[in-house]
Symmetry: C2
Subunit: 719 residues, 2 copies
Amino acid sequence: MLVSALLTSLLINSGLCVLFFTLYSILRKQPSNYEVYMPRLLAEGESNTSSIFNLERLIPSPDWVKTAWQLTEDDLLSSSGLDAVVFMRLINFSLRVFLFAGVIGVFVLLPINCSGNQLQYVDFTDLSNNSLDVFTISNVNNGSSKLWIHFVAVYLVTIFVCCLLYYEYRYISQRRTDYFLSSKPQPHQFTILVRSIPVSAGSGVSEKVDSFFREYHPSTYLSHIVVRRTNKLQSLINDAKKLYTRLIHLQSDPNQQKYKRSSCFGLFGRKVNLVDHYEKKLEDIEENVRLEQSEVSLAGEEVRSAFVSFKSRYGAAVALHLQQSTNPTHWVTEQAPEPHDVYWPFFSSSFLRRWISKLVVILACILLTVLFLIPVVVVQGLTNLNQLEVWFPFLTSVLTITFVSQVITGYLPSLILLLFLKMVPPVMEFLSSIQGYISNSDIQKSACSKVLWFTIWNIFFATVFSGSVLYKVSLFLDPKNIPSRLAVAVPAQASFFIAYVVTSGWTSTSSELFRIFPLLWSLIKRPFTASRDTELEVPGIPYHSHTPRILFFVLLGINYFFLAPLILPFLLVYLCLGYIIYRNQFINVYAPQYETAGKFWPIVHNSMIFSLVLMHAIAVGIFTLKKLSLASTLVFPLPVLTLLFNEYCRKRFLPNFIAYPAESLIRKDRQDENDPTMPEFLDELISFYQDPALMPIHYSGSSDRLNSPLLSSVHQAQV
Amino acid sequence: MLVSALLTSLLINSGLCVLFFTLYSILRKQPSNYEVYMPRLLAEGESNTSSIFNLERLIPSPDWVKTAWQLTEDDLLSSSGLDAVVFMRLINFSLRVFLFAGVIGVFVLLPINCSGNQLQYVDFTDLSNNSLDVFTISNVNNGSSKLWIHFVAVYLVTIFVCCLLYYEYRYISQRRTDYFLSSKPQPHQFTILVRSIPVSAGSGVSEKVDSFFREYHPSTYLSHIVVRRTNKLQSLINDAKKLYTRLIHLQSDPNQQKYKRSSCFGLFGRKVNLVDHYEKKLEDIEENVRLEQSEVSLAGEEVRSAFVSFKSRYGAAVALHLQQSTNPTHWVTEQAPEPHDVYWPFFSSSFLRRWISKLVVILACILLTVLFLIPVVVVQGLTNLNQLEVWFPFLTSVLTITFVSQVITGYLPSLILLLFLKMVPPVMEFLSSIQGYISNSDIQKSACSKVLWFTIWNIFFATVFSGSVLYKVSLFLDPKNIPSRLAVAVPAQASFFIAYVVTSGWTSTSSELFRIFPLLWSLIKRPFTASRDTELEVPGIPYHSHTPRILFFVLLGINYFFLAPLILPFLLVYLCLGYIIYRNQFINVYAPQYETAGKFWPIVHNSMIFSLVLMHAIAVGIFTLKKLSLASTLVFPLPVLTLLFNEYCRKRFLPNFIAYPAESLIRKDRQDENDPTMPEFLDELISFYQDPALMPIHYSGSSDRLNSPLLSSVHQAQV
């Protein structure tokens, strides 16, 4: 790829970014877009919803940048929880890494690469006609002693990243403990989920649970609630809920048309009072729900799982950590998620069934990864103009136009890839959800790892090797030669990945700000629905699609910083954009849906370690290729030390991300002893884990609708 | 190797076995050998030590075989503990597997192999001149449909072994629970070891432990004892102990010479009363010990570890399973071993130091494994007569003698290998002991795994590939082709391994019966020492050398049963010998040194699974080689299913082998509530974990010497 192609891509994307920023600055001020750009503020009733028109509304203003910039970590913690803090620290961490690597890369390595002439001399008179490869390590002369500077850079960056990782892990671990110690009593701290309860023929699950815990945990056991199959009920209740919201809006909004004609597209027929009509319908559904509820409660719809609550956090932890039964596959205990985080639809019961479904999902993931290679290979063909002309000869004339060819090589491939990748997070989330996780947060965490490895495999490895695979399939299955193959293939794709950072990275971040799909969706549905017909839903940030994306760019940065330092400025721009934009979104758009208290960080840590080791493998290969075998030998200790460092961190910090230690639990329990509200809290503790589908509903004819049990329980759970 | 060579080896070894059996039957009846052949009975005072000579003593009698045969599992359990039962069940298990495989192998596969003519027709007129290879699968014609019978055999044996493994795991798991539930209160059930205790400058370890557990486990904490560095003390005490035993014997034996001349080889000089002389010396040492003891107790010789005891088993388990501190590398808890099982010499304290020493030991093991290949390769050269003649031309004349060449090819290689291997278990035990394990049982368990993998790697893989490595080094580093390389190399070594079973297996078992080294040692030292000068030490069975040996033969059996079924009869003889001999040794020789309650079984299980998967890899290779690619494809599900089965067993049974479940612990604690001896037991609980080196000693001038605290504490601990 030529420099000019990169410049074209750069121009397009900068333009897009500026456009998005400007549009956002204007559109966010239009009241009709509030539910797209500040649903969170809207839900909290904090936005100024005055719809008075003034000129200021049409002038783009950057005040939101200032607000986002000034947000402190503590503010973020109190408003969006520890997970948001961890997410922002990831960006912060990456910024620091690439500032350090960027200084080394741009001011030391880049001049060295340019000064070589292995490929060609740099043509300083017409920079844009140079191939991007002259800025990579490939241009340094073979065996040149200047490569030792690259070697030192590899060591320096590894040490820097490891130190930073250590401090970050320690900091977040500390934050997690502080968060726990300062938290109010929460139901999930006192509760565990017990699965695979062995049931003999005559007795029910509930009696069994009660007798077991009364026998073996008499001093701490409080109560329990058995999980039931409620899939059918749930859909009924959803219908009722929709109807109810519609009804509320009808009643509260005086401008709303309250009558419709009963037939023929609302044109003819008798006028019907809409409110009465809906009330009638709602009553019918509620009757159905009640019937179904009593059926579920009576009949054998019990799942062999139960939420069991204890009088203290310590009691719950003891029951959690000790193997309960002589058969370890019975009475399997698990931390209970937050009540509003429970994923009800899928409660597969038996130990064996969950285990098998897990295996099936793993298999499905592997299959998906393999099948995904096909579109990626096709897309990569597009970067290769000659290939394209061979496949589609009729395009030859078009492709000779410089601009077209530049767009195709610099922009199109990344965009197509981006669209394909958009589909991956939801698919992975679905796969995780049928894997047997019991909470949305676990599902997203698992999906996060899946998406990450998927991205690394399908974007990085497939791109790096596909150019080669086309003519070197036979060498692909030879693990010993991977470093040398990486050394050949990875620098060759430097220009693709630089373009990828610009197109995919910049565009995805600014489209995140602009919220292009929600905006389109809102524009489309606006003419068809009444303005407040549907309840405003504040979205949660989908960590499982955003975290892997950032981690992947970090992986690119770490691997290319010494091969093609030119990637670093673009990455820094990407991270700066992300820094501001995500802060803004946390303030205005996303509300926390759950609180894992930083459990995403171990995924980040593992990904960083993997990036480092991959970088070392490439370094070994490249120094061998560049005929500096001493350097390639001296790189060997690095991956070993990095892995040992990782092992140490696993022992030192990871346990704190799995469960809280006895020390914290007991200290917290003692604090509560003086709390006068505790008895009340413990009394209603287990009711938090009542399946929402089984709560009595009485929307219809209810005088004080906003305090209906369903809504209030949801409200309670979120406190 | 020709059949005749195997027959020669068979003859020699059968002769040796018969000789050993006969000699044993005679020698065991001589009172002077009682301490070699029945130390256990002697120590228990059950042996008939009458030294009246009669003719019967010179006639070999097989009555011990009958006694060993009649021993029931419950008898074995009560006399030698669950570990011995598990060991015997391993032999039992192997017998059942090879009876099943043997019927298939000898009556179905062997005739098929002989009927082929891929290598040569079987010369039935002169069987002994046939190569052993005609009995292997290599002789079946390529692509022959008869190979499907081998395929079915592979499936049948895998299913049979897996079923048996499942039932055995379940049975032993059940036995373990029963054993726990029927056991008397034991100190290690109530105690945990706490390591890496964080100590601030001013305070001691002891106060820290006390305040920590009083704070966080107030209701269950009982007491604690801090571990101290006592290496120097231990050697002093050993001296005192030796002197004391000598003194006791002097006093108790009226025939003993009680005087010696004070100088010049006891010929001239003043007569000295030996008893007084020893008493004096003993007093000096004891004075030293007391000085050193007070020094250790006062000065900062505290290790940052402590044994902490609790009022109930459940309390100890809770403290064990919960992470105690917010820093997971502090207050690291571990199950306490039995008091007499504690390995005192090495108590490295800090988390980091133990971790590093573990890494160093792993590295040392790998190095040892690699360096060991050199003698093995040399030894394997001996089987190759042509090779030998090339290396040592002067031997040519000798090697032409049929008998010599047969001995060399059939017998010598295995014998040399055997001697080399004798050194491995002690070395591995030493490596495990510096790895930071705190009990002899853990050390032996770890050494057991090490020796097993060492044996598999250095005997199986090195033998299989060394013949090939000599001319095919380049192919060695190619993991993808391992099945096909195994398929070529493994059958080629069939004759070596058949000979190996006969020489190494048979000889090692019968020399185990004959106890050749202890016998020689006893014969050598007898003229130099007074008959009862040293205390009789009852040995414990070294599981870490016996278990891996049996497991290795099982691996050979499983891998060769369909390649060279001829190995199976020899293996069955080996196992039958082992069955009788080990039972006899458990009755007469070995006393239990510790009780892990069957924790060796998971090692056995893993080894079996590995054997199966290796067998499948070979099967894949061999069916490809034999041009029956459909069969080789159809074998693929087997290793996957076997590994899944293993994974299921890990989840279903393994947790029970790591710790006891809450259910059992609480049931046991409730039983004890009614036990009137419990308060007394709890009172002296922690004193069991007093380092023996720190106990007050007063041998000298003690009136009732046999009740000296040292001996009585040892006695107590063994109860």
